[in-house]
Symmetry: C2
Subunit: 401 residues, 2 copies
């Protein structure tokens, strides 16, 4: 295909579906598997773009939903687009806003027209149709834009995993528990396909922005297969797996991702939306997924939660009061390399000082980017045993490792 | 004198008492006139030490009061001292904590023993005596430490100027309005002198840390003169002018500073504590003051207040919604140089995003450091007319300019 987004696979794993590649965009390339930090409101909270780039992040995500409401997508367009606005000159992806409209707002109606909701900024009634979702993203101007999808929650109520991963979702999930899951998911699959047709037709900047379609289908294999078949009717530069981590256990997530990824075209990047912890990412990469976004490194970082290869730390805890060591030994992030101690970070969090969030966000982002670096090496070199030993949190239990 | 702090005057102004110099400390040198950013709790809020240094700041201030309460001065000592703790390897000055104990806490008693107050962290009763103030600063380990002084407020109630400069003080000032000012200030002068004797005796690290004495005396010339005479009985590496900007107008501040600075030894740095706006600094420098600290650039920066050479901006205002220009044209700070627009900063402040505070704090600190750079050049070159034209906010009305 022609178009602004090109994917090249460089290496394939011999023992899994994992691959290493490059995605070229109008604002440069990024290596895959790729982890995208989340810059909801056109800023990775508290960090200068240069600091984000220094963590090894090559592409970031912005939320169309938030920017549409404030400062407004037309305002961002008039400021030169989101790259110019936030001074990030590398690749940017925006989500369509469907997930936020559903999870964050009072929904008035979810119909074939789109999602009608009240703005969290000023209470205004807003209709997010497929056409409007594309117009918003055409105005914002990122390199990769996402189709509007109908992303229904799990009707089983939230798993413990999802309570951690997406606490804002848990209450909504509990409300909906017990509804007709299969019927609602089937409806979402059909609607997502109809909406993709409309998104493709509405896309006014196809020579500058690549549109990714999104597969739905919940945890139901037949529905996932049907959704893949429908979505891949359109020859798009990439395909996303949506509707994952909306209530399920890690095992359910891994199963759904594995079967869905296997059905998607080999020569297009596969993007697993909104996931997750290290073990989720590693399992998905071994199933052939290439792109990820998640708020965990930055959101946990703001709440004194530090990631390490052996597990998570809560830096407010008393045990760190006299700990002069770095967040993680042998870490090359600016916080660890710069000599900022656990004791200092604990002090900053207890004193309510912003710099704690800054330092720990930088560490956590670097943690996720090092995971990507190391997994790319593991794929290239078929060195999974060494990888599994170096990353206990990845939870890989391989024969012989 | 021998000791860890040395002051060298390089150039003197021919038309005012201003001078350019260098202060050498155990952690390097800083040029004077010097502006010290305030890092209350061992962090300049939201900024990496490297970013602070990049604004041209060579010495910073920490508050002994806050660090004594949390994480505790002994804890900082055990972490290797405040330089190691916060990873700032340049010169550091700490204040004694007297001003904070007085302005921020419920005072139970201010007696010759010291200041008894309740901790703002946990309500614990604390006695800050001259000996304890020095012990705290010996533990923290900065290059320059300050004597404990008795700093009474103006009894006239707060001026509009001080309402802006130190809003936290205004309520306290209003409560005390109408008390016997002259008697209270005279008492403070005598007590400050007695306390300095005790501070000098208590100083256990005189070979590593320089102790500055503090002149009191309110707006009463005779009392200032008496205080200078008492304080300079001790041969100290520097002298501070305290008790300024505790209620007075800019004119009163300027008069007090001018007469007091003129009485202090020529060959020691003079430090005006807690002041202030650009015009206050410029007037003081022309009276022979060498060092300043103030929270204005960082506190205003966190509240969307930007400093420019022609006046202050409130970046939340609607007028900046579509303003693609930098905070200030021709500014070389990372925010302006990096292309972050007023419209983007407005967006960040309206969205409650930390990066707004970070960018504007960096701009404002650079603004104050450029003021210092330019005023040093004006002193060296006797170029005050050009300086006055380049810095309208300095409020200099010179013959011929």
């Amino acid at each position: 295909m022609s178009g602004p987004i090109h994917f090249t696979v460089h290496d394939r794993c011999t023992e899994s579906a994992a691959r290493v590649g490059t995605v070229d965009t109008p604002h440069g390339s990024f290596a895959t598997p790729a982890f995208m930090p989340v810059g909801t409101r056109a800023t990775i909270k508290g960090l200068m773009p240069e600091q984000v780039a220094d963590t090894g992040s090559e592409i970031i995500l912005n939320n169309a939903y938030h920017l549409m409401l404030r400062p407004g997508d037309e305002s961002v367009r008039d400021r030169g687009g989101v790259h110019e606005f936030m001074r990030w000159d590398g690749p940017i992806l925006t989500d369509s806003g469907g997930y936020q409209a559903w999870s964050m707002a009072d929904i008035n109606a979810m119909t074939d027209d789109g999602v009608a909701f009240k703005s969290i900024v000023d209470g205004q009634k807003i209709m997010l149709s497929p056409e409007r979702a594309i117009e918003v993203q055409n105005n914002l101007g990122p390199d990769i834009i996402m189709a509007l999808d109908d992303c229904p929650p799990s009707m089983d109520g939230p798993s413990a995993h999802v309570e951690q991963l997406r606490p804002e979702l848990a209450a909504a999930l509990r409300k909906r528990a017990g509804c007709d899951q299969r019927g609602r998911v089937a409806e979402a699959v059909e609607r997502t396909a109809r909406w993709l047709d409309r998104c493709v037709s509405a896309h006014a900047r196809a020579d500058e922005q690549g549109l990714f379609g999104i597969v739905q289908g919940g945890a139901v294999p037949e529905l996932r297969a049907r959704s893949v078949e429908q979505i891949t009717q359109h020859d798009l530069p990439g395909y996303a797996i949506g509707g994952v981590a909306v209530g399920e256990s890690p095992e359910q997530i891994a199963q759904t991702v594995s079967m869905t990824a296997g059905l998607l075209p080999e020569d297009r990047p596969r993007y697993l939306m909104g996931v997750g912890y290290e073990r989720d990412l590693v399992a998905a990469i071994r199933s052939g997924v290439d792109m990820f976004d998640c708020v965990l490194p930055t959101r946990n970082g703001r709440n004194a939660g530090g990631f390490t290869r052996t597990g998570r730390l809560q830096l407010r805890n008393a045990q760190f009061k006299n700990d002069d060591g770095p967040i993680e030994a042998n870490c090359d992030c600016v916080a660890c390399r710069g000599g900022f101690s656990r004791a200092y970070l604990r002090h900053l969090f207890h004193a309510g000082e912003m710099l704690g969030a800054v330092l720990l966000s930088l560490h956590n982002l670097r943690h996720f980017q090092r995971l990507m670096l190391d997994i790319r090496a593991a794929i290239r070199d078929d060195a999974w045993s060494a990888f599994a030993r170096a990353w206990p949190v990845a939870g890989l239990h391989l024969a012989g490792s």
